[in-house]
């Protein structure tokens, strides 16, 4: 059997990329990583993701897979006998994992980004409430999924762990930049304990950026970019 050539196109700061890298690490899969400059998209990126032109893109023996949640399921199925499973085996639990993963991306993470983007105190307050409501639901979901074990996936890191876990450094950086607390240990004790377990796992430590670096990225790159876009559209 020939060696399989795995490549990953990504950026160091994207949660969508981080989650794929955690799973590749957990499965013990070797891959070549290509850091992308999204302000000047490479030919490689345009060739392998012509539709969305976004990261992550997993390239398996020259065959591209795009969209992070599609990639996670692909890795799980293509390497089903290697390392722990990413998704649960029971169809109902798989449905719950898929439902909450989309909720995390569409509601919780986007709401938290909205805190950073808000230009009025009112808008900011609205996004904070939205984010906290999402985290409250996730605290309940964690209790149901983990069944007393350390992760959403049970004994090992799974689909929901990496989906929410990959956003953690962003959430923490948002807390610092906006001077507030989101991951409140009093309101969400199980979730906060889980964040410690997740961030200390070997497969995670290697690919998770430092909070300070994300904070710097938000302040020096993102916020000026959003301000410039707002001015030019007036």
């Amino acid at each position: 059997m020939g060696e399989r050539e795995l490549k990953l196109l990504g950026t160091w700061v994207s949660p969508y990329v981080i989650r794929v890298r955690v799973v590749l690490n957990q499965k013990g899969l070797k891959y070549e990583y290509f850091e992308q400059d999204l302000t000047n998209k490479s030919e490689l990126l345009l060739k392998y993701n012509p539709i969305h032109k976004k990261v992550p893109v997993l390239i398996d023996n020259d065959q591209p897979v795009c969209e992070s949640l599609v990639i996670l399921q692909y890795i799980d199925e293509a390497w089903s006998k290697t390392g722990p499973s990413v998704l649960p085996t029971d169809p109902y639990e798989r449905a719950m994992a898929r439902f909450w993963a989309v909720y995390i991306d569409d509601k919780v993470f986007l709401a938290s980004a909205g805190i950073l983007k808000a230009t009025t105190e009112e808008a900011k307050a609205e996004k904070i409430i939205e984010t906290m409501a999402g985290l409250e639901l996730l605290e309940e979901t964690f209790k149901k999924c983990s069944k007393g074990k350390p992760f959403f996936g049970g004994d090992t890191i799974g689909f929901l762990d990496v989906t929410l876990g990959s956003c953690l450094v962003w959430l923490k950086a948002t807390e610092k930049v906006s001077e507030l607390t989101l991951l409140d240990g009093n309101k969400f004790p199980k979730l906060v304990k889980w964040t410690e377990q997740f961030l200390s796992a070997d497969c995670v430590k290697e690919v998770m950026p430092k909070v300070e670096k994300v904070e710097e990225y938000i302040n020096k790159t993102l916020k000026p970019k959003w301000a410039a876009a707002a001015t030019s559209s007036k």
Partner: protein
């Protein structure tokens, strides 16, 4: 694989997403109870089952709810494997999931904007929609379809089941567009052919017949 005993579907005659679920259940030969929800006056039982989004369709299996049509369709396919809605090969599966995600992420939101806008703003969104719809056709024909009357080949699969009901919704939307076609067989001949083929299958006709009693007067 343990299959549930009691299956209930909360839906609405007005929601294309619900038809996808009816078709999947019927294709798999699954017996279920259907509850038509008045979307302007949602029942307590329904709200208890989908407190997060409060939307239809919501499938309830042995008292446990599942929401979001794409999640429901995959659950149905994995619980009742025959006939399969997805290819076996993981890479082929990833292509189906990619294009299913494209439909929900790119195409569906535009239909909501088309409905709410008018005049020049609407014309602009319609143009955007037509481009996306063509991209969908090109992508599916290159990456998913190889032969056969349906997107998935000789038998309908997940993408057929998603696009088919979307077709009905698009034709309905066209009525308010002053002669502009969203589904044009000169622009997207393959999608038109696949949707046409899908509309002829028994489960589609049976569902339409079953739903007549709930149609608004």
């Amino acid at each position: 694989m343990t299959q549930p005993n009691e299956i209930k579907l909360f839906g609405s005659v007005m929601s294309g997403f619900c038809y996808m679920v009816h078709h999947a259940l019927k294709l798999k030969g699954v017996e279920y109870d259907y509850i038509e929800e008045d979307l302007k006056n949602k029942s307590e039982e329904f709200l208890k089952m989908n407190p997060v989004h409060k939307k239809v369709p919501t499938l309830v299996v042995d008292g446990k709810p599942i929401a979001e049509s794409l999640v429901i369709l995959q659950y149905i396919d994995e619980t009742w494997p025959e006939p399969p809605l997805m290819p076996q090969d993981p890479y082929q599966k990833s292509k189906v999931r990619f294009w299913a995600d494209f439909i929900y992420q790119k195409m569906v939101p535009l239909t909501f904007v088309i409905r709410k806008s008018e005049g020049e703003a609407q014309a602009k969104v319609v143009d955007e929609f037509l481009t996306i719809f063509k991209t969908l056709e090109d992508g599916i024909s290159k990456e998913v379809h190889s032969e056969g009357p349906f997107i998935h080949g000789a038998q309908p699969g997940l993408l057929d089941m998603i696009i088919g009901p979307c077709h009905t919704g698009l034709k309905y939307l066209e009525q308010g567009l002053d002669g502009v076609k969203l589904v044009d067989d000169k622009k997207t001949p393959l999608l038109c052919m696949w949707m046409d083929e899908y509309s002829k299958i028994d489960v589609v006709k049976d569902t339409a017949e079953m739903m007549k009693q709930y149609a608004p007067a």
